[in-house]
């Protein structure tokens, strides 16, 4: 029977143990910290379930989702385009990579005032901030993938007299696909982070806004429930992308 | 020349330096893989002061043989006696190993790499300096003593590893395809260095190699291993003089010897190739 399970029984048991241990830790911490600081698992999960049934929650979730969707799309398209353009030339890569790396490493939250001054308190400000977070890692991973493509692949393409378009579509793209999927995952998470921070700092709707409002009102259970929902959603999508990534990496 | 100190004083009176008594090893099953019977049972003696080459198809357990003798892997069955004493499962006294992969420490200079083992042994600084100087000189590394391994070629780095092994004056030197990553010309020259080293130290040498030429040129005896589980099909005496070098290769006996080795190995190599399937990239037992 256990042969039919994709997950070995022992591993499933390990995960179960991990989840139980986390819940126990959570409950223990909540007990020590007291209800003013940390709400317990039961209470929090019940509030999270309430949220999932309420229209107001979904209105905010939709606002976040819209901003995040655009941010994600623009980060991936823009990052991949920049990455390919810079990655194709050795000189451009040597010049551009450290600059992009530095831009990636600076605390971008400090740039949010500029974004607000340029875009005002709007959807585009959130999108721009999400893109600011997401675009650099995607570009960097794309450059890395292209630079690390084995030269012998490209030589083979030349020997087979492929046109540049054929080379790009039949050799280069499949060769960098695993890294592109990694870029997709990192870009996704960075763009989500950017969008949420934008909402935390200044916005009129969205899950980040709900969160900051709950914090100002000192509603611990609300904060915990929202944080839990965000964690769960991000981890679920992140895990899915990770699984796809694992499959692509293994295939290549 | 006459002032050159001998690196080791070896007693040539007893003949069996190492005795393998029905030694066998099986790697236990891992997730999704059945257990692998890698070696043996193996019975043979390694004579004191001899140079033994071991050849065999890839994945036949050559490396397992070496690691068992080096005390890195405890064999499942049988015993190994060194100087008449059974091995305890630890690294035995007087053993030096040169691995196939580059094992020089990248954070140490060439001289510090070579001195590493001696410093561990707590020898006086003067003694260490003398031995290191000698070894660097012997391996032609003197001008690189303050260089770091990353500044050297692969061949030079392997020399560093050989020098690091020989300064400890091992009486039993084990080499696991030490020249595997080098080009043919460099291999020949390194082989000659190795012969010189062997003659000077009088140590017992076991060389694992996949090159039939190398095995035939360097060794007193060549042991031919079967496909997995590795056993000795034959042990061939070369009858070369102790003073020898790569010019042996032009002698007719050399051709006879290598073609005999190949005729022994051909069928085994085919078996190994077929059983390892598509993944033939040096599929060892682990």
């Amino acid at each position: 029977m256990s042969l039919q399970l994709r997950l070995p029984a022992s591993r499933a048991f390990d995960y179960l143990l991990l989840v139980l241990a986390s819940l126990a830790l959570w409950a223990g911490l909540a007990w020590i910290a007291g209800p003013d600081a940390l709400s317990g698992p039961g209470e929090t999960l019940a509030r999270a379930a309430d949220y999932l049934g309420s229209a107001a929650f979904w209105k905010h979730a939709r606002a976040t989702g819209t901003a995040f969707g655009w941010a994600c799309l623009l980060s991936l398209a823009g990052g991949a385009a920049i990455g390919v353009l810079i990655g194709m030339s050795r000189l451009a890569a040597e010049v551009g990579e450290p600059i992009l790396g530095t831009l990636y490493s600076i605390p971008k939250i400090t740039l949010y005032p500029i974004i607000l001054l340029v875009f005002g308190l709007s959807l585009s400000a959130k999108v721009a901030f999400g893109v600011l977070h997401g675009i650099f890692p995607v570009a960097l991973l794309t450059i890395g993938a292209i630079r690390n493509t084995k030269q012998v692949y490209l030589k083979t393409a030349r020997v087979m007299r492929l046109t540049p378009v054929q080379t790009a579509s039949t050799v280069l793209l499949p060769a960098i696909l695993p890294e592109l999927v990694t870029g997709l995952r990192i870009g996704f998470s960075s763009a989500l982070l950017g969008t949420l921070i934008a909402e935390l700092f200044a916005s009129e709707e969205g899950l980040g806004f709900m969160l900051i409002r709950a914090m100002e009102a000192h509603k611990v259970v609300d904060i915990m429930a929202l944080a839990f929902l965000l964690f769960a959603a991000a981890a679920a999508i992140g895990g899915l992308l990770l699984a796809i990534e694992g499959r692509v990496h293994r295939a290549s | 020349m006459n002032a050159r100190p001998r690196l080791v004083e070896t007693d040539h009176s007893a003949t069996a330096h190492v005795a393998f008594r029905s030694v066998s090893h099986t790697y236990p099953a891992r997730a999704g893989h059945p257990p692998v019977h890698a070696l043996g049972p193996l019975d043979f003696n390694l004579n004191r002061g001899e140079f033994l080459s071991v050849v065999g198809p890839s994945g036949c357990g050559k490396t397992t043989l070496l690691e068992v003798l080096a005390g890195l892997v405890k064999p499942e069955g049988g015993t190994i006696e060194i100087d008449g004493r059974a091995m305890t499962g630890d690294v035995p006294d007087g053993v030096g190993v040169v691995f196939q992969e580059d094992a020089s420490f990248p954070w140490l200079t060439v001289a510090d790499n070579v001195a590493f083992g001696l410093r561990r042994a707590g020898l006086p600084a003067k003694e260490i300096a003398g031995r290191v100087d000698y070894a660097l000189d012997f391996m032609g590394l003197n001008q690189f003593r303050t260089a770091y391994p990353s500044q050297l070629s692969g061949g030079m780095r392997q020399r560093v590893c050989i020098a690091r092994t020989l300064v400890t004056r091992p009486s039993l030197i084990l080499l696991d395809e030490p020249f595997g990553a080098l080009d043919q010309q460099t291999r020949l020259l390194m082989g000659e260095e190795l012969l010189k080293l062997w003659r000077e130290t009088g140590a017992t040498v076991m060389l694992i190699t996949h090159s039939l030429d190398e095995a035939a040129m360097l060794a007193d005896r060549v042991a031919v291993m079967s496909a997995r589980p590795g056993r000795f099909i034959d042990i061939i005496e070369t009858r070369w003089p102790r003073e020898r070098d790569s010019s042996l290769a032009s002698q007719p006996e050399f051709g006879v010897l290598t073609s005999r080795l190949w005729s022994l190995l051909r069928e085994e190599s085919r078996k190994a190739m077929e059983s390892s399937g598509a993944r033939s990239s040096g599929a060892t037992a682990r």
């Binding site: 390990d14 600081a37 000189l91 490493s105 605390p107 990770l242 | -």
Partner: protein
């Protein structure tokens, strides 16, 4: 290499000059952005005249230093521990690899509730942000110690402690350093972002304070300071990392 440096300098210098021209010409209005030269002058002015400047800078640096120490030391020790128990590691691996896809900042409000508005919240925020990068780097570093070096240590009969100190740690150093670099970058982001969202002091809080008070001169001066600090730190760590990798790997 020098040609690359030259082009980089021209590129960055050109961008700054372009920004300067656009601001001076009024294409970018003064309420949105002040010219880069004014940012520098403003920074010099606040550093010399404002009484809050040094206390705020030191507050941030101190919190940052503590967060980095906790993240790096903690991440290294946790990494060692997890590496030693393969079964635990197999369990935790998905957790580690999806950690940065979870917006850790949503915990900051919670940290304030637990630790109050003060250094503790900021330090925990920074450390939480940086620690997983260090854990993952430690695991990678331990995985990638060449087997030949470990075998060599055994052949030389180093005891467990010496084997770790004299062979495994030095062999793992480049990857550990990469972890340190990432942890530092994440700690900087965590601490400054925390200050920016909600804090009583610190350079990040000064930035949001001056923004909320429409004090563009101060805001851009502080912004310049943070950007230059983060970029310089990153560049230095990159150079060091590159040297280490060049020596270790060929």
């Amino acid at each position: 290499m020098s040609r690359v440096r030259l082009i980089q300098t021209l590129l960055i210098g050109g961008s700054v000059a372009l920004l300067e021209i656009l601001c001076r010409a009024g294409v970018i209005d003064h309420f949105t952005m002040i010219p880069p030269s004014d940012m520098l002058l403003s920074l010099i002015r606040i550093a010399r005249t404002e009484s809050w400047f040094w206390p705020d800078v030191l507050y941030t640096l101190r919190n940052l230093a503590v967060a980095i120490v906790i993240a790096v030391a903690g991440g290294f020790l946790i990494g060692l521990g997890v590496h030693a128990v393969p079964r635990l590691r197999r369990c935790l691996d998905p957790l580690f690899s999806s950690y940065y896809s979870v917006p850790t900042f949503v915990l900051y409000p919670l940290l304030i509730v637990i630790f109050g508005i003060g250094p503790a919240s900021l330090i925990v925020m920074g450390a939480l942000f940086g620690v997983v990068a260090m854990i993952v780097a430690t695991l990678t570093a331990l995985d990638r110690i060449p087997r030949a070096l470990i075998k060599t240590a055994r052949i030389m009969r180093l005891d467990a402690l010496r084997g770790v100190l004299m062979v495994r740690l030095p062999a793992a150093a480049p990857h550990l350093f990469t972890g340190l670099k990432l942890a530092v970058a994440y700690c900087v982001i965590g601490v400054i972002a925390g200050e920016f969202i909600l804090a009583t002091a610190g350079i990040g809080r000064r930035l949001s304070f001056s923004y909320n008070n429409f004090d563009n001169q101060t805001m851009y001066g502080v912004l310049l300071l943070i950007l230059v600090f983060a970029a310089t730190l990153n560049a230095l760590l990159n150079i060091w990392e590159k040297r280490l990798h060049q020596r270790w790997y060929r």
